[in-house]
């Protein structure tokens, strides 16, 4: 190559910098959204990550939807009839439903999807346990034949929290659950674009032109007409919080789901940014015991320990702003919540008394292993406060710091702490999941099948069964009151308070849903 050629190339390159920008045809409207976590798993029934739940609600549709108060309403279903004293349900699909690959949604797709969901979800498992037969009577009609009445069937098939009972094509629904679905096909108002996915960076959805919204009802959360006003949604994952704050300020993203509380003053100072608390139900702190290992295999030890978990202290450290203490086992706004048996611990516990009561129930200074994932700041903050309280109560604490993947794996180890197990973890669950016993995984007492911690409580399980069969809300609320009293006796976990995390978006975004980010019915003006 001659020097002159090189110089010519450099000159051409430099000249191109001065060229006018090429105008690229862009869709009419684009929303750039940064979720609270990277969307790592696209299979809606494989991961309980919140972000996967948002993806499920966006790209898929459900037979029933929920309003803001979590009441079910028909969504894909046109109507339904209940016969044989509540033991026969006939659900009829509405016209014009199509999957994103252009195929019509048929009853057999729904049957296969419900069966798949029924293996993954606790509410689904309860429904399947009373289902003798689930069939497609025709292309439009789904038939449930139950062994006993299940009045909450629409609520189960309309839940919007993990795991969402999404409808997918039969061929995907019949796939083994062991095999992750990496290119999901839904029938919701937005279509997932597999070819544009950059794992760990970008997920793209486009308005599904063939989607037929309901003609009746009012748009409210996941119920009523789902109208896609925005043409294209770009979920951009920014791992660094400072960069995310700058990107929002510089108009490089439109919506940041969960900014750090520490960064809120910076964002509030920007007149183009709105700080809004959409997740009004917030997150609930949980101090979970390992019921299989001493010393927390004994209920009297758990009850003595629970007296030292000051929700006030936990929440002051956790949230700084909007939080509630003195909360029980259900989300405070739920009709299922009550003050029965509360408070479990005082705001300012008397640690000398607690130390004495721990000794009285046989605590002799045994080492208590607490797992702590410092990289997960919310769990780490709760854990740090818990450890501080334990030390003040004179407990011998062994804090094991782990990265999240290791924490998540070790939490499933049922062995002794010396063999890779644990005694205590602090964690959190969204308030939406703790709304009632249906999806409340932390309140199960089904031993080895329960969420890690594995509590056994026949009392809690029997009350849950009673709740699932209960015909009206007043009766259900009374059962939950009794469940709370039972939980205070058995202590599958200790409630550690509730806090809300604001979201931040640029002015011009309207129709932002409550509870979780829902992208239909959302409008953007630039």
């Amino acid at each position: 190559m001659r020097r002159r050629d090189v110089l010519k190339g450099v000159a051409l390159g430099a000249a191109s910098l001065a060229l006018p920008k090429v105008v690229i045809a862009r869709p009419a409207s684009v929303l750039r959204y940064m979720p609270g976590a990277d969307l790592a798993v696209l299979d809606p029934l494989a991961s309980s990550a919140f972000v996967t739940c948002y993806h499920a609600n966006l790209a898929f549709d459900t037979l029933f939807g929920q309003d803001t108060k979590f009441n079910p309403h028909p969504q894909m279903v046109d109507g339904y009839v209940v016969e044989n004293d509540g033991k026969l349900w006939r659900l009829v699909l509405r016209d014009g439903l199509k999957f994103h690959d252009g195929e019509p949604v048929l009853a057999r797709d729904c049957v296969a999807s419900i069966k798949r969901w029924g293996q993954a979800d606790a509410f689904g498992q309860a429904l399947m346990a009373v289902t003798n037969e689930l069939t497609a009577a025709s292309d439009k009609e789904i038939v449930f034949r139950l062994s006993r009445p299940f009045p909450l069937l629409p609520a189960a098939l309309g839940k919007s929290s993990t795991y969402v009972p999404v409808i997918m094509p039969e061929r995907q629904a019949l796939q083994s659950r062991s095999q992750l679905i990496s290119d999901p096909v839904g029938s919701g108002p937005y279509r997932y674009i597999h070819s544009e996915r950059v794992p760990g960076q970008l997920t793209v959805y486009e308005k599904f032109a063939d989607y037929q919204p309901r003609a009746d009802g009012v748009s409210d959360f996941t119920s009523g007409p789902k109208i896609a006003h925005i043409d294209r949604l770009e979920w951009r994952w920014i791992p660094d919080q400072s960069t995310a704050a700058s990107a929002l300020q510089a108009n490089e993203i439109d919506w940041w789901e969960a900014p750090l509380v520490d960064l809120l003053p910076l964002l509030e100072a920007d007149p183009n940014i709105v700080i809004d608390t959409i997740g009004e139900l917030g997150d609930m702190g949980i101090v979970r015991f390992n019921h299989l290992q001493p010393p927390f295999d004994r209920p009297e030890m758990r009850r003595a320990f629970a007296k030292m978990v000051s929700q006030t202290e936990m929440m002051q450290a956790m949230a700084g702003r909007t939080w509630d203490d003195n909360v029980g086992f259900f989300t405070p706004e739920s009709p299922m919540a009550s003050m029965e048996g509360l408070p479990i611990a005082q705001s300012e516990p008397n640690f000398a008394e607690i130390k004495a009561s721990l000794a009285a129930v046989g605590y002799k200074g045994e080492k208590i292993t607490v797992l702590d994932p410092p990289s997960s700041y919310r769990i780490h903050t709760l854990t740090s406060m818990l450890v501080d309280q334990m030390k003040r109560a004179g407990l011998n604490v062994d804090v094991v710091a782990l990265d999240y993947a290791n924490w998540a794996q070790r939490r499933t180890n049922r062995d002794t702490p010396e063999n890779g197990g644990w005694n205590l973890v602090a964690t959190l669950l969204p308030g939406q999941e703790l709304w009632d016993p249906a999806g409340h995984i932390a309140l199960r007492g089904n031993g080895g099948d329960a969420w890690p911690g594995w509590p056994t409580s026949p009392g809690l399980e029997s009350l849950r069964d009673e709740w699932l069969q209960s015909p009206d809300e007043a009766a259900r609320a009374d059962i939950c009151r009794r469940m709370q009293l039972q939980a205070i006796q058995d202590l599958p976990y200790v409630p550690a308070g509730r806090w809300t995390t604001p979201t931040a978006y640029r002015k011009g975004l309207t129709g932002v849903s409550r509870h979780i980010p829902i992208f239909y019915n959302l409008k953007i003006e630039r």
Binding site: S48, T162, S182, S246, L402, A408, Q409, L429
Partner: protein, 313 residues
């Protein structure tokens, strides 16, 4: 020379074999696995166990290693356990931003650092020399992410000259591509500039005291040809070595820089894969980095023969 290059290329095979063994074994021994990350916070132990079985994580070490090695030998790096995308495809998808960033940083660093080092050596002991050395100390001392935040705040957020984050591919035009890479490259080049400038200064000082330079000066040659033609060429071998070694620094720095500036490169891919325990991706990327490092060392050795004809293989 050809024989030497062939021998060196062949010698990469056992080295890559050792790297493969070490990477696989370290990941096998490391606690945590992707099943618990895939399953998420609310999963039961049974859910996690089901995913572990599906991923084959419950099988013995030797069987897993043997299978993986067999696939590697056939050029198959496996499939990401999260996205189900082939690792090769993920690497190809992420190669452009990282290579762009590294090349841009390398060019920027050499263009800034070599003249700085030469200048400092020429003006040794003066305020110019002290200024260059102060910059070098700062370049070494300030972490890349701090420089990145400062640059983003001033040049992107306040002045609006560059985007805060993101990457514009080369296919979108040279202008947008350079705009998206300038801040990350500046941040990443600081430590590299410091390293090359210090080395250049030290070797230049040594060369400038040699008799042939004194003779050139006595003959009345200008400073410019003395510094850049006679001295720099003879000081180049250590500088080239440092540039070669520095590529490893760049790879490490790219991990941080790509996270701060949200570049979809190999650094981000590696960090995400490590946090998620996405074994096939971690193994694939580390093998690639090892291979690149071996090749860069080979290129450095070949460059020696160009800058110093006395070196022969």
């Amino acid at each position: 020379m050809l024989h030497y290059i062939l021998r060196r290329v062949l010698s990469t095979v056992p080295v890559m074999g050792i790297v493969a063994f070490l990477v696989f074994s370290l990941l096998y021994l490391a606690p945590g696995d992707p099943a618990s990350v895939i399953a998420g916070e609310q999963a039961s132990a049974a859910d996690i166990e089901r995913i572990r079985e599906q991923l084959g994580l419950d099988r013995p070490y030797l069987i897993r290693f043997g299978e993986w090695l067999w696939h590697i030998m056939r050029g198959d790096l496996g499939v990401s356990v999260f996205s189900s995308i082939p690792v090769t495809q993920l690497i190809v998808q992420r190669l452009e931003p990282t290579v762009s960033l590294m090349v841009y940083t390398l060019i920027l660093s050499v263009l800034i650092a070599v003249p700085m080092g030469v200048l400092a050596a020429w003006k040794a002991g003066t305020s110019i020399d002290r200024a260059v050395m102060t910059f070098a100390v700062l370049g070494f001392s300030i972490p890349v992410f701090v420089i990145g935040y400062l640059l983003a705040y001033v040049m992107a957020l306040k002045l609006g000259w560059f985007p805060v984050q993101g990457y514009a591919p080369l296919s979108s035009g040279i202008g947008p591509w350079l705009r998206s890479l300038t801040l990350p490259a500046l941040a990443l080049s600081c430590v590299y500039v410091a390293l090359i400038a210090r080395t250049t200064r030290a070797t230049m000082l040594e060369v400038l005291n040699q008799d042939y330079i004194k003779t050139a000066r006595a003959k009345g040659l200008n400073q410019f040809p003395i510094l850049f033609h006679h001295a720099l060429k003879n000081a180049a071998v250590p500088v080239v070595t440092v540039i070669g070694i520095g590529v490893a620094l760049l790879i490490g720095g790219a991990v941080v820089t790509e996270s701060v500036f949200v570049l979809p490169g190999l650094g981000r891919l590696t960090v995400d894969a490590i946090l998620q325990r996405d074994y096939p991706v971690i193994q694939g990327v580390i093998l690639l980095f090892s291979f690149l490092y071996i090749i860069i060392n080979l290129i450095v050795d070949i460059v020696y023969t160009i800058v110093d004809p006395r070196i022969r293989y």
